[in-house]
């Protein structure tokens, strides 16, 4: 069913409530709908048309159209169609009915809209602060255009602490994170524990929210942003930069040369390889199987080396630009890569056999962190988590981008819906990645790496792009704008959705299963720890307090001048 058919279907039901329809291509459908009917329409799309919820995005469009805009994005994976339901909200009192009670997956998306844009989401089941720091004043919304990117609120209160909910009767609270030996991301779970059983939790995250979106739409240029996007994540940086440039290219209808597409595909798969190798190692480590952890890291290392040879970096490749890529691969490197892949495939087979034959890992992870297919749909879970529950989605196949349309690969699914299923999926996906990279190397033709873009990009266009990150679909949204930069850029990493599923996965299982369950979704690395300084002469140890650390950081960071924005090529 293509975009036109879907449009007919929806307007047959909500004819007078669909104000405008845009069909920029066969895979995109933008419907401007009546905000009053948003709940009915979303419910129809989600429940009856069985679309997958992607994300909700808010934007301050007041300087241009005089409205706030809210986008509820849905994906029809089987049709390769992305649907965006756009609500135009009045500038003076932006208000929209919540859909989180119908679609639990929209919980964070809507709370983020409330935090960042001050759009009132009425009837939200849990309208608690999500993104903004604890001390941030009420009523100040960073993504509104009338707030400067470098504004420091005077009434910021660093001492204010977060008001946690009361735990249920009979439960003790066990804090989990932000600094934790096995959770490799600064997020805080407040686990409600009854004896050894986890009965629920409250989540507080977004502790390293860096204001990347605001920064990009305020001071950076189109081609600076890919470098920033790469730094969104320590593992899947290339995914974010590809997703961003693809969103811009989609908005501006820029065609990318084939060799550039192959280079993107190659490096995306490279990233998946090292991410999955790392994850399997960490999962084994969490399960106490440290031999495999060491082996996985040993096997992974040549992948990092060859990445460095191709791009100059083990990570953070600096690959993408709007309209192409910056690096090429030489024939010599091609051969070297083939050799690395051949060795990797063999060694990975050994590891996979060790994992599958040794029942320890299987027993440790079976029936742990269960997320059924229905649960995945409800919470919008993605990637290996969904595929392990038999949900057959993969952006590379469903919404082909870069060179994936020309390549042959299988989407790995499993039926157990637990952490074991995620282990199986990821282990097998490594082989698919190796095969994909070999196909890329075979099919690559010589040619240009970059489209010549000789005029300014059109203004006010919407661009959506999804890229299959190692953890699932990474979704980027761009509205092109003036001054060689987008008006709005929204990143939705797969962990954004998957993390929302964690409380459901860990409920009613033991505390000991918490780490591997959380590890099962492969949350991103962003590990910080306290700093301890030892004076060698006196031998005394001293722990730095938060205030001291902040003061030290602020000293070195004094004049934050970000004035250079490169022009588009």
């Amino acid at each position: 069913m293509n975009a036109h058919d879907r449009l007919k279907q929806i307007s047959a039901r909500f004819g007078q409530d669909v104000f405008r329809a845009d069909i920029p291509g066969n895979d995109r459908l933008y419907l401007t709908v009546s905000p009053a009917q948003i709940r009915l329409i979303c419910h129809y799309v989600f429940a009856e048309l069985d679309a997958r919820y992607v994300v909700s995005i808010g934007t301050d469009d007041r300087p241009y159209s005089g409205h706030f805009l809210v986008f509820h994005n849905f994906a029809f994976d089987a049709d390769g169609l992305l649907l965006s339901l756009i609500s135009e909200l009045p500038a003076d009192a932006p208000r929209l009915a919540s859909i989180s009670d119908l679609i639990p997956a929209a919980n964070w998306g809507e709370r983020e809209i409330m935090d960042m844009l001050g759009i009132e989401i009425t009837g939200h089941p849990y309208p608690k602060r999500l993104v903004l720091p604890d001390g941030w004043p009420e009523g100040l919304h960073p993504l509104r255009k009338d707030m400067d990117w470098n504004h420091v609120p005077e009434d910021f209160d660093p001492d204010r602490s977060f008001a946690f909910d009361a735990p249920p009767e009979g439960c003790t609270v066990v804090p989990f994170g932000p600094f934790h030996p096995t959770l490799d991301e600064p997020a805080h779970f407040r686990l409600y524990v009854e004896g050894e059983m986890v009965r629920g939790c409250e989540y507080r995250g977004f502790m390293v929210h860096r204001g990347i979106e605001k920064l990009a739409e305020s001071v950076m240029g189109y081609n600076d942003i890919p470098m920033l996007a790469e730094r969104v994540c320590g593992i899947c940086g290339c995914v974010h930069s590809v997703a961003y440039v693809q969103a811009v290219e989609a908005a501006a209808h820029i065609v990318v040369p084939p060799r550039a597409e192959f280079m993107r595909t190659l490096m995306l798969e490279m990233e998946r390889l090292h991410s999955h190798l790392l994850w399997v190692g960490l999962a084994c480590h969490i399960a106490g199987f440290d031999t495999l952890f060491m082996q996985a890291f040993r096997i992974r290392e040549p992948v990092m080396w060859i990445s460095e040879k191709i791009t100059g970096n083990r990570k953070t490749y600096g690959l993408c630009q709007v309209g192409g890529v910056r690096w090429d691969i030489t024939p010599a490197l091609k051969d070297e890569l083939r050799a690395v892949l051949a060795k990797l495939e063999e060694e990975w087979l050994d590891v996979a056999e060790a994992v599958f034959k040794d029942k320890n890992v299987q027993k440790r992870t079976s029936d742990v962190g269960v997320a059924s297919a229905a649960f995945c749909k409800r919470m919008g879970l993605l990637g290996p988590v969904a595929r392990a529950a038999g949900v057959d989605i993969d952006t590379r196949r469903d919404f082909p981008y870069a060179a994936y349309g020309r390549l042959d690969f299988a989407v790995i699914t499993h039926h157990t819906a637990d952490v074991w299923g995620r282990v199986v999926v990821r282990i097998k996906e490594v082989f698919e990645s190796i095969s994909l990279m070999r196909q890329c190397l075979d099919l690559m033709e010589p040619g240009p790496l970059q489209t010549v873009i000789d005029e300014a990009l059109p203004v006010g266009r919407l661009g959506f792009a999804s890229v299959e990150a190692p953890r699932g679909e990474s979704h980027h949204f761009v509205i092109t704008g003036e001054n060689n930069r987008p008006r709005r850029w929204r990143i939705r990493a797969p962990t954004y959705q998957n993390l929302q599923g964690v409380p459901g996965m860990i409920k009613d299982q033991t505390l000991a299963d918490m780490t591997i369950s959380l590890g099962g979704i492969d949350p991103c690395f962003s590990c910080t720890d306290r700093m301890e300084v030892i004076d060698i002469r006196s031998g005394t140890a001293r722990t730095w307090t938060q205030e001291e650390l902040l003061a030290a950081v602020r000293q070195t960071q004094q004049p934050a001048t970000l004035t250079t924005t490169k022009d588009a090529p």
């Binding site: 009670d101 639990p104 919980n107 089941p125 849990y126 608690k128 602490s161 977060f162 946690f164 909910d165 009361a166 735990p167 249920p168 009979g170 439960c171 003790t172 609270v173 066990v174 804090p175 989990f176 994170g177 932000p178 600094f179 934790h180 805080h188 407040r190 524990v193 009854e194 004896g195 050894e196 059983m197 629920g200 939790c201 409250e202 989540y203 507080r204 502790m207 649960f375 409800r378 919470m379 929302q500 599923g501 964690v502 409380p503 459901g504 996965m505 409920k507 306290r530």
Partner: protein, 676 residues
């Protein structure tokens, strides 16, 4: 003038009764009444200890002493103090003395409950126990003394009678005790001797027993079953103990709990000893081994169920009550083992009997200490809910050290007295495989269950004293003020704790005392084993200052181990000093973000949840209402008016909570919970 020992016991009882009258008259003056009760107990204790000492030194009287003879066919009241009776009497007066000293501090607070129902009842209860242990009668006077023990203790259990749960507990106790006395009297009637005025006298019945065993073995079996049932209910054997004991102990004021668990249960043990080990002379065809096996199995079931059920408890005194059931099981196990082995392996039988008797003494010491300890906490915090309490060690360190000693002792940790008696029990059972194959099995099970005892007291001591200070305790402490009890509360605890350590370090003291008690008890198996000691003194499991079987299979030298451990401790300390090791005290690491709250405390409810889940079928799950109902903030504890006001406020809060319930549910909803 040479007075028999029995006369002193009569005087002790009379002193106690007179004291009861005095206390009743002075009940309005709380502290006076308390001191009078203490003086009466001390005075009576003097007589009893004199009597016990006389028996130990010069042996028991040849025949029972007639205290009172009404003439005609009416039975005579006769007392007979042999070594065993002297031992138990000594134990009763010692623990009662400790409890009365504690009472002077515990009951001194003005309260809505007057002392008229406390001090007189305490003394009557005391007199009843003395009489019960001294009398040789098993029918009329037994009934009299039994009720003299039961009815006052019933009053004491329902002392705080405004709490419905306590009334129910007391009623249950009363009912079970009446059942027990009926069973014992029926058994006694079946065993009656053909002697008009001494039909139910134990001495007289002993002489008619051989004939009864031959002429009507079924009747004898029924009689002994009934007696075992009765005393089993009293001492809290499975399944009867679980019915009354865990409710009654927490309900009573703490010194009374200490008496109930420390000595009153032991009257049941004493009954079993009298009827099964001191009654039938050896060689008359009394099936000792069969009854022994029966008592052993009862003991094994009791110690397993009691201890495992105790793991489920969150109320301090209820936990201790279940643990009492468990420890009584050990005693029963030892008695049974002694009976099984008495013919085939007398040395091991002696070992088992000594173990059981020593455990009677030791349990009386550490369990009454624990109950007094829980009482101290109750005084300081007004709660026995272990979920609410925590971090008491810093606020009441002496009480905490006493609790630690008692916990280590009851868990059977070496160098403390509990280890000594358990060591004897395990040695006797584990080495007796050649004599009876099931003994090592029972011993092994008992040994494994004692691991749970340790777990239990890790929970007890850990949650009450060591965990983070709870909000409830903080409120009680009023800015970290010490909450240590006064000298009335502390003295008995320190004395009991010191004895626990002393008897643990010098086990020969207890064993020598017991050997003397056996040697001065002429009747039955106990008598036979006592006799044996005179011919084979090497059978006594003593080695120097330690213990050991003289065939060389088992040794226990506490002083040696103590010296080694102390040396190692100081060596470690020295090394740490030399190396300049530093220690740092810090708040718990809550992963760097959340503030510490009351909810972060790991409270008693969270302990051993998997064991509790697996053993839920055993029953004994906590009845939270009983103790929660009694929880009062100590600051609100003073007068009745205040109490009424807080109760009213609680009532209003309760109804208000009902009105607001839907809203609270909604706000408490977990944001990221998956299911809508």
């Amino acid at each position: 003038m040479h007075l028999p020992a029995e006369t002193f016991v009569v005087w002790a009882i009379l002193v106690a009764l007179a004291g009861a009258v005095l206390c009743a008259l002075t009940a309005k003056f709380r502290q006076l009444s308390n001191i009078l009760a203490l003086a009466s107990v001390a005075f009576a204790a003097l007589f009893v200890l004199l009597a016990s000492g006389m028996v130990f030194v010069s042996g028991p009287a040849v025949a029972p002493h007639t205290v009172f003879s009404p003439g005609g066919d009416w039975p005579d009241l006769r007392f007979h103090i042999d070594g065993l009776a002297a031992l138990f009497l000594g134990l009763v007066v010692f623990i009662t003395l400790a409890a009365s000293v504690f009472s002077c501090g515990y009951m001194a607070q003005p309260s809505e409950y007057g002392l008229l129902r406390y001090t007189p009842n305490l003394l009557l209860f005391f007199a009843g126990m003395l009489g019960l242990l001294a009398t040789t009668d098993l029918f009329f006077y037994f009934f009299f003394f039994w009720q003299l023990m039961t009815l006052p203790s019933y009053q004491l259990i329902r002392y705080e009678h405004r709490i419905a749960a306590y009334r129910h507990a007391a009623n249950k106790y009363l009912l079970m005790m009446q059942l027990a006395v009926v069973a014992i009297m029926l058994g006694s009637a079946l065993l009656a001797a053909p002697h008009p005025s001494l039909a139910y006298d134990l001495d007289a019945m002993t002489y008619s027993l051989p004939e009864l065993l031959v002429s009507a073995p079924a009747r004898a079996t029924l009689a002994f079953s009934l007696v075992l049932l009765g005393f089993g209910i009293k001492m809290g054997l499975w399944p009867f103990g679980q019915i009354w004991l865990p409710d009654a102990h927490p309900a009573a004021p703490s010194p009374i709990s200490a008496l109930l668990s420390g000595v009153m249960l032991k009257t049941g043990v004493y009954g079993v000893l009298r009827l099964f080990l001191c009654f039938a002379p050896p060689g008359i065809g009394f099936p000792v081994a069969a009854w022994g096996a029966c008592i052993m199995v009862c003991g094994l079931l009791t110690l397993t169920t009691g201890t495992l059920q105790a793991l489920q408890q969150d109320q301090s005194k209820r936990l201790l009550a279940f643990s009492s059931i468990g420890q009584i099981g050990y005693i029963a196990l030892g008695l049974g083992a002694a009976m099984v082995l008495s013919d085939v392996a007398p040395a091991l039988a002696l070992c088992a009997l000594l173990g059981a008797l020593l455990h009677v003494i030791h349990h009386a010491l550490f369990k009454s200490l624990l109950f007094l300890n829980a009482g101290s906490i109750l005084t300081a915090t007004g709660s026995q809910d272990m979920n609410k309490l925590g971090g008491l060690f810093a606020l009441m360190p002496i009480t905490g050290i006493c609790a630690l000693i008692a916990s280590l002792a009851i868990a059977g940790v070496p160098l403390f007295n509990g280890f000594t008696s358990k060591w004897l029990l395990y040695t006797a059972t584990l080495l007796a495989g050649r004599a009876a194959w099931f003994l090592p099995l029972c011993g092994a099970i008992a040994l494994m269950v004692s691991v749970f005892t340790l777990a239990l007291f890790i929970k007890y001591f850990g949650t009450l004293y060591l965990s983070r200070r709870s909000a409830w305790v903080d409120a009680c402490a009023q800015n970290g003020k010490r909450m240590e009890g006064n000298y009335w509360l502390l003295t008995p605890q320190i004395a009991l704790a010191a004895l626990c350590v002393f008897l643990g370090l010098f086990p020969w003291v207890g064993i020598t005392l017991l050997a003397r008690a056996l040697a001065t008890s002429p009747n039955g198996i106990v008598g036979a084993l006592g006799q044996m000691l005179t011919y084979h003194p090497e059978f006594l499991p003593l080695q120097g200052w330690g213990m050991g079987l003289n065939n060389g299979t088992a040794h226990w030298l506490p002083i040696l181990l103590g010296v080694i451990l102390a040396a190692l401790f100081f060596l470690g300390l020295l090394l740490s000093r030399l190396g300049g090791a530093s220690a740092r005290t810090d708040a718990p690491w809550l992963c760097g973000y959340a503030q510490e709250t009351e909810q972060n405390r790991y409270n008693a409810r969270q302990f051993y949840s998997d064991i509790k889940r697996a053993l839920a079928w055993l029953g004994g799950a906590p009845a939270a209402t009983a103790a929660a109902a009694s929880d009062r903030h100590p600051l609100h504890h003073h007068n009745r008016q205040e109490n009424l006001r807080t109760r009213k406020e609680a009532l209003y809060a309760m109804t208000a909570a009902h009105d607001a319930a839907p809203e609270t549910v909604q706000t408490a909803r977990n944001p990221t919970r998956a299911t809508p």
